[in-house]
């Protein structure tokens, strides 16, 4: 099983790498189209803002290879935080940007959902998996606390793509599931035992 963590110049890839490694896997960093197409599982992490992230993917010519792997070949992929937002059609943060377009929907600021709580939303929140959706989050059991650090959230066009929700003043999409695409707004790599479980489940996942 080859796990490729997409390296495109932004974000904290070290933590994602360490988490998989400590679970007994040997993840690779993939930063070329060839490398993206050579692995069995893809992880698209992301911290920061859309513009440098999208520029980072473009500079390395990764957009097309990711499309081929995820859309044509059906390679399971997990997006984390900004990585999840990049999978949408549109991102609205410091301007409007075109995303990878796999998930019908857009990123919006929590305030646009009517949230009056302080942002960024930083800290832990409980996650409620959607009923009837089978994802790496299903059946983990116990209280599902996960760590968040974000101001923007994904607004889905199709509620059927929501794999889980959390609340920060108002409910928002905590995780997405569409075919071979799984993504979470929280950071499993920073969520102690429950987070490790999600990463492990993702590796075992057969969509």
């Amino acid at each position: 099983m080859r796990i490729g963590i997409v390296e495109y110049g932004v974000g904290n890839l070290t933590c994602v790498h360490n988490s998989f490694y400590n679970l007994g896997f040997d993840p690779e960093f993939v930063s070329t189209p060839e490398a993206v197409l050579a692995v069995d599982r893809l992880v698209l992490p992301g911290v920061g803002t859309p513009q440098p992230a999208l520029a980072g993917l473009a500079e390395r010519n990764l957009g097309e290879a990711l499309n081929e792997a995820v859309v044509d070949k059906g390679v399971p992929i997990m997006g984390i935080c900004l990585g999840m937002q990049l999978m949408c059609e549109t991102l609205n943060e410091y301007g409007q940007h075109k995303g990878l377009g796999w998930i019908p929907g857009r990123s919006v600021h929590l305030a646009d959902l009517g949230v009056t709580e302080r942002t960024p939303h930083m800290g832990w929140a409980q996650v409620t998996p959607s009923e009837g959706v089978s994802s790496p989050l299903s059946d983990i059991g116990g209280r599902l606390w996960f760590y968040y650090a974000h101001s923007f959230v994904v607004q889905l066009d199709d509620a059927a793509h929501q794999a889980a929700s959390s609340t920060h003043g108002a409910p928002f999409t905590a995780a997405i599931l569409k075919d071979n695409i799984f993504a979470c707004q929280f950071h499993p790599e920073k969520s102690q035992a429950k987070g490790e479980k999600v990463l492990e489940r993702f590796v075992e996942w057969e969509p």
Binding site: W124, A149, H187
Partner: protein, 252 residues
């Protein structure tokens, strides 16, 4: 449920060891960084803060090697700071495994660093520390490098930190560090009104009641040092106490 208040152990780094002091001096050894972080991780700390307390004083880059060691096995969000002066140093900290960066004196030297860090790594990654000293009822900014109280306007600085795009503010009362007399509740409550981003508070608690009292401030996180290191308290006990008082904390 309200977003839980985070319990955040403070790890102060000095010559590759952890230390803890009183009023930012008289430091005592407090253990090895990586193994201590692992213990807090296992106890259910909500975040960790690791600060190189000598880097800015000595005008050098912080100890990235120790950061890397700590981050390697840490499954808890990690904030790193101490002497980060440039975007390159900030990048190296992120690459070494930090999730968030903390700027204190270097933000005062160059406030544009706040904006640069927030734009590059996201607002959520930019924590600005504010060191305060209480002198006969009034509160002043403090520079630990020179051990001097500064003349600047505390409230204006707090406004500027937010206007420049910081994602979180950590207010530390220097004179209360290690004093075990409780948080500066009144002063913190007053400052809270000006702060629209998450607020972490540090300095003063010596027992479980002090920690419970802190909730009057309306903060988002409690940064704890002495109380965890040189007393019989641990994170599990603190959380159990707060849960019994119906405080919003992460339980499991």
């Amino acid at each position: 449920m309200a977003t839980p208040v985070r319990i955040i152990p403070s790890l102060l780094l000095h010559n590759k060891r952890l230390v803890k002091g009183v009023a930012y001096r008289d430091y005592r050894d407090a253990g090895a960084p990586a193994s201590t972080a692992r213990i807090y991780d296992a106890q259910g700390a909500d975040e960790l803060t690791l600060l190189d307390i000598d880097a800015s004083k000595e005008g050098r880059a912080p100890d990235f090697a120790t950061l890397k060691n700590v981050a390697e096995e840490c499954t808890t969000p990690l904030t790193f700071g101490g002497g980060l002066r440039t975007i390159d140093e900030a990048s190296e900290a992120i690459a070494s495994g930090a999730d968030k960066l903390s700027l204190t004196t270097t933000a005062m030297d160059d406030p544009s660093l706040i904006t640069a860090v927030a734009q590059r790594f996201g607002q959520q990654a930019c924590v600005v520390g504010v060191d305060l000293q209480e002198i006969s009822g009034s509160v002043s900014l403090y520079d630990h490098r020179t051990e001097k109280v500064l003349g600047g306007d505390v409230e204006a600085w707090i406004d500027e930190i937010q206007d420049r795009g910081a994602g979180e503010i950590r207010i530390s009362f220097v004179n209360r560090e290690g004093a075990r007399s409780g948080f500066a509740i009144e002063a913190l409550s007053r400052l809270r009104e000006r702060i629209r981003i998450p607020l972490l508070i540090e300095g003063g608690p010596g027992n479980l009641e002090h920690v419970d009292d802190a909730f009057a401030v309306g903060m988002d996180g409690l940064v704890l040092g002495t109380m965890l290191i040189f007393s019989d308290n641990n994170i599990v006990q603190i959380k159990r106490h707060l849960e019994a008082r119906k405080r919003p904390i992460r339980n499991w």
